[in-house]
């Protein structure tokens, strides 16, 4: 009796364009890069070298010093984001979502504006503001009598990376703010009312009721920050150039990959070592995402309303 169901061609038609473009431009090249990292040049020919490129990258001092430096810098970049960007984002969102707050739409839009600016603008503006010769910062500090606090923050090895991380925080704080704000707004009113009945208001209400409810959103923001940070390149490139000065102190994995693959000044580009670095970055990001998905996300308690 049961006649065979007709093939539903429309499903294929709906899916095909997205799957084709995505597979061809994203997945295939990704695996192409992973594959390329196993090859190297032998004089003229491309030969299979197995994991030799990685041994070189992690062990040979000519490469490994730069790699571990970039990796550590990248970790520091991420730590600053987690410690500064996300708490500020949560604080702003909590303030914005308080009921009867006037001008909330204005604040929301204004604080989000840096996020839509291009890195070229952001890097350039902050270089102008912080420049010891031209900059506005020395003059402003002078006006309030704090001139002695000023240092050429972008030019000193010990401050440059932290300064860039804070600039990046300044630019992207709008994203955690927006997502947490949305999560806070979606908490049902009766939960809040019940808390108020029990005498919980203000900050204690935030800590005891709202924060546990938005933990899953904070988790998502953390992982998005992680992926974004370990993929960062543009800000460092526009502010400090491909050499990530001073003396590689702001070098992160993205700029290291760019320099290796495309070459800079006297060094020729090396697609094989470049692929090896990209593969290492892929591994790091995958590791981070897995730790989050299996170690953290499964332990977060979710509440359904």
């Amino acid at each position: 009796m049961a006649s065979k169901r007709p093939i539903r061609w429309h499903i294929g038609v709906f899916l095909a364009p997205a799957v084709l473009v995505y597979t061809a431009i994203m997945i295939v090249p990704l695996f192409g890069t992973l594959n390329l990292s196993l090859y190297n040049l032998d004089g003229q020919n491309r030969i299979f070298v197995g994991l030799t490129n990685f041994v070189t990258l992690f062990g040979d001092p000519r490469w490994s010093d730069a790699f571990w430096n970039a990796l550590w810098n990248n970790c520091w970049f991420f730590i600053i984001h987690m410690l500064v960007q996300n708490p500020i984002g949560i604080l702003l969102a909590a303030l914005l979502s308080s009921p009867r707050l006037r001008m909330a739409a204005f604040y929301r839009t204004a604080i989000f504006i840096p996020t839509i600016l291009s890195f070229v603008i952001v890097g350039f503006v902050w270089k102008l503001i912080l420049s010891p010769i031209w900059g506005i910062a020395p003059g402003m500090l002078d006006a309030v009598g704090l001139k002695f606090l000023f240092a050429p923050w972008l030019g000193k090895e010990e401050y440059a990376l932290t300064t860039l991380a804070l600039i990046s925080v300044w630019q992207f704080v709008g994203i955690p703010m927006m997502l947490i704000y949305a999560a806070l707004l979606s908490i049902p009113d009766d939960v809040i009312e019940a808390a108020e009945m029990d005498g919980l208001t203000g900050w204690s209400q935030f800590w005891k009721i709202k924060l546990p409810l938005i933990l899953p959103s904070i988790g998502i923001i953390s992982i998005l920050t992680f992926v974004g940070n370990f993929n960062a390149f543009d800000l460092i490139y526009v502010a400090q150039g491909a050499l990530a000065g001073p003396d590689f102190s702001t070098d992160i994995l993205g700029t290291f990959l760019y320099r290796t693959f495309f070459g800079f000044q006297l060094q020729l580009g090396d697609p094989y070592m470049g692929s090896a670095i990209a593969t290492a970055m892929f591994g790091i990001i995958l590791l981070g995402v897995c730790i989050y998905l299996f170690g953290i996300q499964t332990r977060l308690r979710r509440y359904q309303f």
């Binding site: 539903r8 429309h10 038609v13 709906f14 899916l15 364009p17 997205a18 473009v21 995505y22 061809a24 431009i25 994203m26 997945i27 295939v28 090249p29 695996f31 192409g32 890069t33 500020i88 702003l92 303030l95 308080s98 009867r100 707050l101 604040y107 204004a110 604080i111 989000f112 504006i113 840096p114 839509i116 600016l117 291009s118 890195f119 070229v120 603008i121 952001v122 503006v125 102008l128 300044w170 704080v173 927006m178 997502l179 979606s186 959103s217 998502i220 992926v227 993929n231 390149f233 543009d234 490139y237 526009v238 993205g254 693959f261 470049g274 692929s275 990209a278 970055m281 892929f282 990001i285």
Partner: protein, 279 residues
């Protein structure tokens, strides 16, 4: 009484914090824009003074419009952004509809496969993408950029839109089917108009990184004819690094288009996010 007073106090504190942060957020933008209208001497002498008759000077803008190919760059950015946005929204919505509407074998796997791209940045494939574009003869064309950005934008678009499409009522779609509409008509005439807020959310999140991207234009399309405005202003800054007026004017001009697009979409954006698109 005490209660209302503490409430007022708290609201003043909230405004103070928000206002302070707003100032921090807007200050650099403000500095660029006011100084772009001033004479060179006024920029250096009093960077914080607003433009007024004494120091008013449009020399920066005239330099930019005469010397750089700014209009061309702007057009390139516009073309790339609009074309990529169109394909991301169309293909993304189609795939999201297939995933949320029909039950078929491999549905869940396909969803996971497409969502993988949210976590893994497309940049890591750059090496192979460049090789592919070279062999396809697409280097230094805007097509290469559109292809890359479409692939880059699709995962998030499919993810957000399919969450949204699950909320479109089945009765509506079934009524359409009884009236004899094809599945394609149902998608284009019934479902698409209903998910407009979600489309706006996707549009903002897709548009910003495309408009501001420096990496792929630098690698795939650095020629003079295909430069985007982001790459163009980077080069412009390098070439005219001593001409502060021109640089500040160029930066101000580069802020305007994306700001306008953001303001257009932003109302829908909050509605889209809060309706559960990103959770």
């Amino acid at each position: 009484m005490a209660n209302t007073r503490s409430h007022t106090g708290r609201s003043i504190a909230a405004h103070a914090i928000l206002l302070t942060y707003t100032l921090i957020a807007l200050f650099p933008v403000f500095v660029i824009v006011i100084n772009s209208f001033k004479s060179r001497r006024a920029i250096f002498a009093e960077p914080l003074m607003p433009p007024m008759p004494g120091n008013w000077d449009l020399v920066g803008y005239t330099t930019v419009l005469e010397q750089g190919d700014f209009f061309q760059y702007f057009l390139n950015s516009m073309t790339v952004t609009v074309a990529s946005l169109f394909f991301v929204l169309l293909f993304g919505a189609m795939a999201a509809f297939a995933l949320s509407e029909y039950r078929f074998r491999g549905n869940l796997l396909m969803g996971l496969y497409l969502a993988l791209g949210i976590m893994i940045p497309i940049r890591l494939g750059t090496v192979a993408i460049l090789e592919m574009m070279v062999s396809a003869g697409l280097v230094n064309t805007l097509t290469a950029l559109v292809l890359v950005y479409t692939a880059q934008g699709l995962p998030l678009a499919v993810f957000i839109l399919s969450e949204f499409m699950r909320t479109v009522s089945d009765d509506l779609k079934n009524a359409g089917r009884i009236d004899g509409l094809s599945e394609y008509r149902i998608f284009f005439t019934l479902v698409l108009p209903l998910v407009r807020p979600a489309m706006a959310t996707v549009a903002v999140f897709t548009m910003i990184p495309i408009w501001n991207d420096l990496w792929f234009p630098l690698i795939l399309a650095p020629s003079e004819e295909t430069k985007t405005i982001t790459l163009g202003s980077q080069v412009f800054i390098g070439q005219f690094v001593t001409n502060w007026n021109a640089v500040l004017a160029a930066l101000s001009l580069a802020i305007v288009p994306v700001l306008v697009l953001y303001l257009i979409f932003s109302r829908q954006l909050i509605r889209g996010i809060t309706a559960g698109a990103v959770k």
